[in-house]
Symmetry: D2
Subunit: 400 residues, 4 copies
C-alpha cells in the first residue's frame, strides 16, 4: 500500500484549495441567491463563470483514470482532489467533476462507440451539457436489479423504451441532454443478462420529466432529482451500450468509480462540518466559557476526527486497490467504503448540527443540507444493507 | 405508579382514533395540496373544517390539566390522546392542541391576569388565534438562558422591548396574534432573576417578522419558524407576566408541559413510522421474497418496537410524576424524556427511511419530514446535552 | 397499566432493603473469603446462616405467583423485591430465590405430580437442596431447540437418558440433587412435540459432572456451570413431566418466569453499578477536581439512569402483562425485556468499569464479575437474536 | 503515506505466519495445560522451547526501531509482524516482543546508561529475564499523572522509594527481575517536572508483591498483574533514569511505542476472532441452515471486517507518522489508535462471542479472555477519555 501522492498531485491539491478559497466558497451565497431569487430551474450565471475560470486554471475533468481524455490521474491520485471539491456543494460542477456526470462519462469512455463519444462525451467533457442516469424505479425495490420493470424492446432499427424511473438526478437541469437508461431487453434470460443500457436523449418524444423530487425538503434546483416517465420512447438501435444483456456488466463497471467519488466527497463534506464545529465551539459561550471548555464537546470533536481519518484511509485503500487490481477485484473494498463513508458523514454532520444548536438545522450553515445529502447516500447506489451483505459474503468466502 | 386509564380516557382515545381515521389522515394530502398550490402562508381551508368538526365532537383543548377551562385531564390522561394526535403532522392543530399554543395557553392560564386571559387565552382556547414564544436568539447560545441579550426596559407606563429572536415557531402564521417574549429586565440581578416574560401583540409597531427559517429544507408554511426583530417595541406595563424577574420561574413552569407534549407526539410519530415500515417491508420484494423474509429487517423492526415501548413508559411515568408531585419535583423525569423521546424517534424514523429506500427521503411518505421534526427536538426547548447534564447532576445529588 | 405496589409489597421492600444493608452486603466479603480460602466447591457457612435468618424474617420464597406454597405475590409484586435481591450476587440464594431454582420450582409446582412435589419441590422450597436445568448442548446450536440431540427412550418402566449437556448451572453445587433434563423422546414427531422433560436425580448412575465451566474466568464456585455427561442413565418412567412430547410446552411455561426474574435482578445489578459509579466519581480527583466536575462523566451517569429507568418500566410492564393475560400472551413483552435488560446492564456496568479505571476490571469492586453475568444473559435462555426475531415477527403479525 | 512493505518485511511476515501455524497455535493448549496443572506461577516448559525455536529462526526482538540491538525495523515495518503475534495470547513472549518488556527495553535503550543496559537490557533482549512497569496506584486516579503519590527521595548515594502500585503486569512472573518505578522526586516542582523514573530490582528489600490481581476473573498466571508494595526501598542513586524530574518526558517517550504495539496486537486478536466467527457460523446449523444463511450474521461479519480494516489503516498511519516525524509530533495519531483499537477489538470479540453462543463466554474458545484483554486496554496506559480529550484539544488547536 502506497498512498503517497506525487508532486503533481500535491501541486494540484494546492491549486485546488486555493481556487476554493478564492472563488468557490465566496460564490456559495451568490449561487444560493441566484437560485432563490430567479427562475429556480435555470443555471445560475455564477456557475458558468466559475466553470470558465476552473477550466482556464486547468482544474477540469480531473476524475477520469486510464483515459487520454482525462487528466491522467489514478483513482488514488484523484482522491485528495475530489475530497477538496466535496467541501462545497457547488464545487464538483465547477470542476466538471460532478455526479452523475463523472460516472456517465466513464461509461461513455469505457463502453461507448466513437459515435456515442462524439455526440455526448465530447460535450460532457467540455461542460456544455449534463446527463442523467435512469435506473431506480418507484414501483419496485431497485436495490435488487432483477426487479427492474422498465423495458427496452427491439423494433426494426430502433429500440422502444418504456418505464417509470425516479431519482434520476440532474434530469431537470436545463443543461441535461442525455440519459443512460437501464431496462430489460430479455426478462427470460439469466438474471445477470436480462438488462441493457441505452442512451436516451432527453428531448426524445415520450420522455417526460414528471416532477422534481424533494430530498428532506430540498429540491436541489436547478440540478434536481426527477421522476421521469418513458412511454413508447423510440431511439436508434445503435444507442445501445455494448449490446443487449450487458447492462449488469456496465453497471458493475460504472458504479465502482461513481461510488468512490461520492465517498471522497463525503470526506471533504465531513471535514468542512468538523471545521465548522470547531470554530463554532470556540466562538459560542455557554455556562461560563466557550463550548470548547466542555469535555463533552471535545469528545464529540475527537470522535469526528477519528471517524474521518479512518474513513479517508479506507477510501484511499479502496482507490489504491481499484488502481492496482481493478474495480472487480476491489469490489469488497468499494462496498466497504460505500457503507462506511456516508454513515460516518451522517454522524459527523449530525454532531456538527448539535453543536450549532438551532442554527444547525437552518439554512444559514448548510449543515442540515449536508446531512440530507449524506443520508441519501446510505440508500443511493444501493443501500447499506446490500453492500454490507456483499462484504459479509466475500469475507465468508475466505473460509470455504 | 398507576398508568391505568379511566373509562373516560379510553373512550376519548377511541373517539380520537376514529376521528383520525375518518377525517385527519384523509385530509393530509388535501392540506399539503392547499399549502403547495395556493398562497403558502395562508391557513388552508381544510384545517378550519377539521377544527370545526373536532370542536363539535368534543375533541378540543384536551391538554390543560388542573384548570376549569380545559378538558380536566391530567398529564397522564392526556398522554395517550396526545400520542394519537402525534401520528399526523396536521392533527394537533385540528384538536387545538398544537405547539407552541398549548404551552402558551398553559402560561396564560397559570400566570396571566384576568385581562390577559380575556384578551388572549379566550381566543386561543377557541382556536380563533394562534401564538408564538420568542425566546431563542441567533447571536447567543440560548440553551444558557443567562446569555439572552434581548431587553425589556420600563419606561413610564410601558415596557420597551428590543432584541432579535429566531425559531419563533408559528409567528408567520396568519392567525398568530400574540407572542410571549423573554428578555432581561435587570441584567445585574441574580442570574435567575434577570429575566422577565412579557406579552407582545404581533401587530405592535417595531415587531418585524424577518423571514421564515427552513428546517432541513422545510419551511412549514403556513405555520413556520420565524426570525423576528423587535426594535423599540412599546407595550403597556401590564403586559408583563407575574412581574419583573419572574421569567425563569415561568419558563420552568411552561417548559415542562410543553416538553412532555412534544414527547407524547414523538411516540405517536414513531408508531406511525413503525407501522409504515412494517407495511412497506411486507409489500416490497427483493432477492426472492418480501423484505420481511430478511432477519435484518425483522431485527430493525424489533429494535424500533423495543425503543418505542420503553419511551412510552418513561413518558407515562414522567406524566404521572408531574401529576402527583408537581412539575418541579418531576424535573429529572421531564429532562429524561426530553432526551430519550426525540433521540428514539430519530432512530425509528431513520430506520423507516432506510427500509423505504429512496422513497423514504422523498416527500411521498413524510418520513424525511418526520425526521426533521424529531431532529429539531433534540435541540429545541434545550439541547440533549443540557437536559442530560441535569439528569446527571440530580442523580449525583442522591449521594451527596 | 397499574404498577402501583400494595402496602404489603412496600413493606416487604423496606424489610428486604434493610436486611440487605444489615446482613447481605456485609457478608459479601465473608462469602468470597470462605469460597476462596476453603474448599471451593463447598457451601460457605455464611450462606446457611443468612438463609436461616432470611427464612426467619419471612423473606423466603417470594417468587412463586399463583400458588399456595409461595408468598402469594404476583410477578409485578415480586419485581421490586427481586430487583433488590439482584443488587448482590449472593442475595438471591439467601432468600431462596435464585436461578435456576426458581424456574425449576415453578416447573414442579405447575407440571409436577404430587410425588414429584413431595420428593423435590418440598426440599427446594425449604432451601435444603438445589437443582439444575440441563438443556443446552455443546455440540449444537441449542437456541434452536429442534437441534437438541439428547435422547429419552422408554424402556419398560424406565426411561433411558443419553446426552451431553453444558452450562447446567448449579450442578456442581454440593446441595444440587435434582436435574430437569430436556431431550427428545420422538425425533420423528412434529417439531414442537419431539421433546420431553424428565427428572434426573444427580446421583443416578451414568450422570457425570465433567467439569465446571468458566464464565469470563469466573468459575462461580460453589454454584458453578457444569458440563454434564449422561450415559445410559435410567430413571423411573414416572419421572417424566406431563408426558412425552410436552417438553416444548413446559419450556415455554418455565422460561417466561425465569427470564423475567433475571431481568429484575439485572436492574438491581445495574442500580448498584450506577451507585458505585456515582460514589467513585465523587471521590476520585483528576485534573483539578472530582470526576463529577467533568461533563462527560455526568453524561455517562445520565445515560445510565435513563437506560435503567426505561428497562425497569419495561420489565414492570411485562410482569403486569404476565399477571393479567398470562405468560403466553405476554411473550412479546417477555422477549423484549430478555433483550433489553441484559444489554442495558452490560452498558451500565461497562460504564461503571470505565469510571473506576483499572479498579473496575479487578476483583475488588465486583464490576467485571457483574459484567460477565450480564454478558452471559445476552446468550443464556436464548440469545438476543432469537428473542428480537420473535419480537419482530409478532410486530409484523399486526399487519397481516 | 507509503504503507508498502519491503521484501524483507514480507518475507518476515511469511516466516512468522508459518511459525505460528507450525509451532504457536498447536502449543496454546499445551501452555494452558501446563499452567493449569502445575504450579500456576512457574514458567511453562513449552514457552522456553518456543522461545528457543523462535530465536533460532531469527524471529526475535523484532520490535526495536532505530537501534543497533534490535532487528532494525521501523514501527511501520513492525506493524504487520506484531499483528500476527497478536493472534495468540502466548505468541508475543515467544518472539520476545511482549508487553511490558518491549516498552521497558525501549526505555532502557533510549534513556539507560551503559551500566543499565548491561545489567538489564542485555538479559531482557536475550529473553533471560522479564520486567515490570510500576506506575498506576490504587489510591488515586493515575490517568492524571500529577496525582501519583509514590515518592523517590534522595538519601546520600541512594534513593529511597516508597509507595503502593498495582497493575504492575509481569511482576509475579518468576523471570521478572527488574521494575521501572515512577514516583515523585519533587512534589513542589512544575507539574511535568515532579516525577522521575528509577530502576528497582525486584529482589530489593522492601519490595513486596502483595497479590496477583484478577482481570475479569483471569489471573494471567504466570505473567500476572500485581499489587506491589514499596516500603523504604533503597536503590543506588545511579538507578535513576535520565535524572530527577525527567519521568514525564520518559513516559511520553515510552508510552507511544508501547501503545502502538498493543494496538497492532489488538488487530491480530480481532482478525483471529473474526476468523473464528466465520468458521463457527459456517459450521453451526440453526433454523434450517448454517448461521451464514442469516443476513444478520453476515452483517455482523461485515461490520467486523469494516471496523478491523479501518483500524489497521489508522494504526499503520500512526506508525508511519512516528517513523517520519517522531513520537511527539505523532501524538494525536497515537492517541487516536489508543482509543480506536481496543474499542474496535471489544466490539469484534463481543460479536464473535455472541455468534459462538454459550461457547463464546467459556474457556474453550478463548474469546472471553480476549475480550477481557481488550477491555483492559480501554483503561490501561490511559483511559479512552484521556486520549480522546487530547485528540479533541489537538484538533481545536488547528483553529486557534
Amino acid at each position: 500500500m502506497d498512498f503517497e501522492h506525487s508532486e503533481r498531485v500535491q501541486e494540484l491539491s494546492k491549486q485546488l484549495a486555493a481556487f476554493m478559497d478564492e472563488h468557490v466558497y465566496p460564490a456559495e451565497p451568490v449561487y444560493d441567491r441566484e437560485v432563490g431569487e430567479g427562475e429556480r430551474w435555470a443555471q445560475p450565471a455564477v456557475m458558468e463563470e466559475l466553470k470558465a475560470r476552473a477550466r482556464e486554471a486547468g482544474l477540469w475533468n480531473l476524475f477520469l483514470p486510464e483515459s487520454e481524455v482525462g487528466a491522467g490521474l489514478s483513482n488514488l491520485e484523484y482522491a485528495p482532489l475530489c475530497e477538496i471539491m466535496g467541501r462545497s456543494m457547488i464545487a464538483p460542477e465547477v470542476f466538471n467533476c460532478s455526479a452523475p456526470d463523472t460516472g456517465n462519462m466513464e461509461v461513455l469512455e469505457r463502453y461507448g462507440t466513437e459515435a456515442h463519444k462524439k455526440a455526448w462525451l465530447g460535450p460532457l467533457l467540455a461542460g456544455e451539457i449534463r446527463s442523467g442516469f435512469a435506473m431506480t424505479e418507484p414501483q419496485v425495490a431497485s436495490s435488487d436489479a432483477t426487479n427492474i420493470e422498465a423495458t427496452i424492446v427491439r423494433d426494426g432499427d430502433d429500440y422502444v423504451v418504456n418505464g417509470r424511473k425516479w431519482w434520476t438526478s440532474g434530469a431537470p437541469h436545463p443543461h441535461c441532454k442525455i440519459l443512460i437508461f437501464m431496462g430489460k431487453t430479455d426478462p427470460g434470460a439469466d438474471k445477470y443478462r436480462q438488462q441493457s443500457m441505452i442512451l436516451v436523449p432527453l428531448d426524445t418524444a415520450g420522455v417526460t420529466v414528471m416532477r422534481p423530487l424533494e430530498l428532506f425538503g430540498y429540491d436541489h434546483a436547478p440540478h434536481g432529482h426527477a421522476e421521469v416517465d418513458f412511454t413508447e420512447v423510440r431511439v436508434p438501435a445503435s444507442n445501445i451500450l455494448l449490446g443487449e444483456g450487458r447492462g449488469f456488466e456496465i453497471a458493475q463497471g460504472r458504479l465502482g468509480p461513481g461510488r468512490i467519488h461520492h465517498c471522497m466527497r463525503m470526506i471533504g463534506q465531513s471535514e468542512r462540518a468538523l471545521e465548522m464545529m470547531c470554530r463554532r465551539a470556540q466562538e459560542r459561550v455557554a455556562f461560563g466559557g466557550p463550548l470548547t471548555d466542555q469535555g463533552l464537546v471535545r469528545r464529540q470533536i475527537a470522535d469526528c476526527r477519528m471517524a474521518i481519518d479512518q474513513t479517508r484511509l479506507l477510501t484511499l485503500h479502496a482507490a489504491w486497490k481499484m488502481d492496482t487490481v481493478g474495480n472487480k477485484a476491489a469490489r469488497a473494498e468499494i462496498a466497504m467504503i460505500k457503507v462506511v463513508a456516508p454513515n460516518m458523514t451522517c454522524q459527523v454532520v449530525d454532531t456538527a448540527i448539535q453543536v450549532h444548536g438551532a442554527a444547525g438545522v437552518s439554512e444559514d450553515f448548510g449543515l442540515a443540507h449536508s446531512y440530507a445529502i449524506a443520508r441519501m447516500l446510505r440508500i443511493g447506489d444501493g443501500p447499506d444493507e446490500v453492500h454490507a451483505d456483499q462484504v459479509g459474503r466475500l469475507e465468508l468466502r475466505k473460509y470455504n
